[in-house]
């Protein structure tokens, strides 16, 4: 866990006081809605279809049990008893009243949680791998660097009114669980041949109406230069990013229009001027931030312990274990994914009671730590394997042990037309119906890893372009239609999906997805060949022929 100190706490209290004053000025009319909007957005407050929405940051996906319990408290006290975890390590409360917002924010600030820079044209919550610090795969804990960036970007005087929002993601493992290639800036932490820690820097990735995979502008940036290099990128973007058209204002358009090479040249020139200045990260500074992350006092244990081996005799536990438990860097420990994709429930939603259950599990078995991943599931990153049966029983009782992680029913979906003012079509009910079609565990296990991503409009909050199966809701003559893409992926081999064919109606989507899956089952080279690999091998044509012949 990162430990906030008195500076962070003072800042949060000052921020809440400022927002309280801004709300008061808005209510008195001293601020117009036009003037208030960017201010509330930079505190995570949206005006949605039915109510104000509060988006709360979960920096680099890490929560303490006290923080999760406080989110539950806010859900219960100011909302309708639940919250929605997003694809960017945030949680959203959909039913908060404007006049309650300062109190809700003050309650969150007491435990170091806030909505600062979860929206607006600023540097957003920096995201990373939900397995950080626990996975055996990583070169370093990426949260150290995400925290350095969090501090650097918080209320940055120069970069608070950028042309458009700006999202940074970091991976420190070769397996990219943070979708770094589809962020404005993606950082891949690794070591060079000399063993020195540094970043590959990708710029200009992103989804939305003009999707791009990020381009590498620097293969290796020594880690101590992280802030000066980011500042150089931001300064070039702030001055030259387009402001004439909101749809062309993201950095990806600038990079695309002038070319990655010209962009990199401008950044390097700016960087040369500042690289050894005040942003230089000395070993001391890095060590100071590092010292604020507290790690569990792991003692290696039997792997697997006898208690686990015995418990695996129970097929239901074994199903969950196979699906939700992942290797930990310390023998005898495990990483547990908590599915928020119960069949028929809105993807990523958790009730206040469920949040309390997970917080209690973290207290009892997981060093009080919880993670949130971009797949809209929770995670207990540090649990002893011998405790897994007890954890499972309590998750199961709370509806949190659906053994479908990475299965077709583990769907990423935006809130869609049920909540969002921008949406053209529903996303949640589409996800619910698809999940129901594949609720049979034997069937979904036979299909294997398959990511379905659903967005209710072209803004792509459900990351449909990078779903193995992507579903995009559009509106035609007042009716909901859906475009299907195949072959997208958000990992280290990120690529955008290919359109399957003409859009289909709301009612046709679940059947069409079943046809796509049946086609895969017939065409795959062997049961080990994943859906994404079959699509890569054969292209979308065989799927198209089969699916549109049927519809």
């Amino acid at each position: 866990m990162y430990v906030y100190d008195e500076f962070d706490r003072a800042f949060l209290a000052e921020r809440v006081a400022e927002f309280r004053d801004q709300v008061a000025r808005r209510l008195s009319g001293a601020l117009s809605e036009d003037e208030f909007k960017p201010l509330r957005l930079m505190n995570g407050v949206y005006l949605q279809l039915h109510a104000y929405m509060l988006r709360v940051a979960i920096p680099y996906g890490t929560l303490s049990s006290d923080q999760l319990r406080r989110l539950a408290y806010v859900a219960r006290t100011y909302d309708r008893g639940y919250g929605h975890f997003t694809t960017r390590q945030n949680i959203q409360f959909n039913w908060i009243k404007l006049e309650d917002l300062p109190d809700a924010m003050a309650a969150l600030a007491e435990v170091g949680v806030h909505g600062i820079q979860t929206s607006g044209n600023c540097i957003r919550n920096v995201t990373t791998d939900q397995w950080a610090g626990a996975t055996p795969q990583e070169f370093d804990d990426p949260r150290i660097w995400a925290e350095i960036l969090r501090q650097y970007s918080t209320l940055h005087p120069e970069f608070t009114y950028l042309p458009r929002k700006f999202k940074i993601a970091i991976t420190a493992a070769p397996k990219d669980r943070a979708a770094t290639k589809v962020h404005d800036v993606g950082l891949r932490l690794h070591r060079n041949e000399a063993g020195e820690l540094g970043f590959e820097v990708l710029v200009g990735g992103g989804l939305g109406r003009t999707p791009f995979v990020g381009k590498s502008v620097r293969a290796f940036l020594p880690a101590r230069h992280l802030l000066s290099y980011i500042e150089a990128i931001m300064r070039v973007y702030n001055q030259y990013g387009r402001r004439d058209n909101i749809y062309k204002a993201r950095i990806k358009i600038l990079v695309h229009e002038i070319g990655a090479e010209a962009f990199a040249k401008a950044v390097e020139a700016e960087w040369e001027a500042i690289r050894d200045g005040a942003l230089h990260l000395s070993d001391e500074i890095i060590a100071d931030i590092r010292s604020r992350f507290l790690y569990p006092d792991f003692t290696p244990r039997a792997d697997p312990p006898a208690a686990l081996v015995a418990a695996l005799e129970d097929p239901a536990f074994a199903d969950w274990h196979r699906n939700s438990v992942h290797p930990h860097k310390v023998p005898g420990y495990a990483i547990v994914t908590v599915s928020l994709k119960a069949i028929g429930a809105p993807p990523g939603d958790a009730t206040a009671d469920q949040m309390d259950v997970v917080a209690a599990l973290a207290d009892d078995f997981g060093w009080r730590e919880i993670r949130v991943g971009h797949e809209q599931n929770l995670c207990l990153p540090n649990v002893a394997q011998e405790d897994l049966p007890a954890i499972w029983r309590r998750l199961e009782a709370a509806g949190l042990a659906t053994p479908n992680v990475n299965h077709i029913s583990d769907i990423i979906a935006c809130p869609g037309l049920d909540y969002c003012a921008l949406a053209n079509a529903r996303a949640i009910p589409v996800a619910q119906e698809i999940a129901k079609r594949f609720k049979d565990l034997d069937r979904s296990r036979a299909i294997g890893r398959l990511h379905v991503n659903i967005s209710g409009c072209i803004n792509a909050c459900g990351h449909h372009h990078v779903g193995h199966i992507g579903i995009l809701g559009v509106e035609k003559n007042g009716q909901e239609f859906y475009q299907i893409t195949l072959g997208g992926r958000a990992d280290e081999h990120a690529q955008l999906g290919t359109l399957l064919g003409p859009a289909v109606s709301y009612e046709q989507v679940p059947g069409l997805i079943e046809d796509v899956v049946d086609t895969y089952m017939e065409l795959r080279a062997d049961p080990q060949e994943l859906f994404i690999d079959t699509v890569a091998r054969l292209g979308v044509e065989p799927f198209k022929e089969r699916v549109y012949a049927a519809h």
Partner: protein, 170 residues
């Protein structure tokens, strides 16, 4: 419009003159970029001070040859949402070595005063009277600054060094 300099309300001694108006004799003037560049040679002979409003769409580095004959630089916020002038201000102060007065003009509102101050503006031309009255409060709302900027306040990354981390070991 109310002008605030280094936190205090002041009279504006510069007269804003549009491109087609004659320059008032002997008065300090603030003029647009087109006129400034067109009349650069003639203005050089002018005994009274000349300030220029530099647009946020023009690279600020281009101002460098003229810095020796400018008495005031005004950077423009056509909308408070358009933040290009923050970068221009920092580059003027930190790269081009401008130590003269630097004024924020345009849609300048209270909730941006602190950002402007931190980016190197020492003069702020305030759009609303009530905002000018609240200037002091607005720039003192925060005691904690996470990153270094033009104002040279120590950033938190450095401020923390040498301190024990309260809460560690909890």
């Amino acid at each position: 419009m109310r002008l605030i300099e280094n936190g205090k309300p002041v009279e504006d001694r510069f007269v804003r003159v549009s491109d087609d108006e004659a320059l008032p004799e002997g008065a300090a003037v603030l003029i647009g970029i087109e006129r400034f560049l067109k009349d650069a040679e003639a203005l050089r002979e002018r005994p009274a001070p000349v300030g220029v409003i530099w647009p946020n769409s023009r690279p600020i580095a281009e101002i460098e040859p003229y810095l020796g004959r400018i008495a005031l630089i005004a950077l423009n916020f056509p909308s408070f949402r358009d933040g290009r002038a923050y970068s221009q201000a920092r580059l003027l102060r930190e790269r081009l070595g401008w130590t003269g007065p630097l004024r924020a003009v345009g849609n300048v509102l209270r909730d941006q005063f602190l950002l402007m101050q931190r980016s190197g503006f020492d003069q702020i031309e305030v759009s609303k009277a009530a905002d000018a009255d609240a200037f002091d409060e607005a720039v003192h709302r925060y005691t904690v600054f996470y990153q270094p900027a033009t104002d040279r306040r120590p950033s938190l990354l450095r401020q923390r060094l040498g301190r024990s981390a309260p809460g560690v070991g909890e």
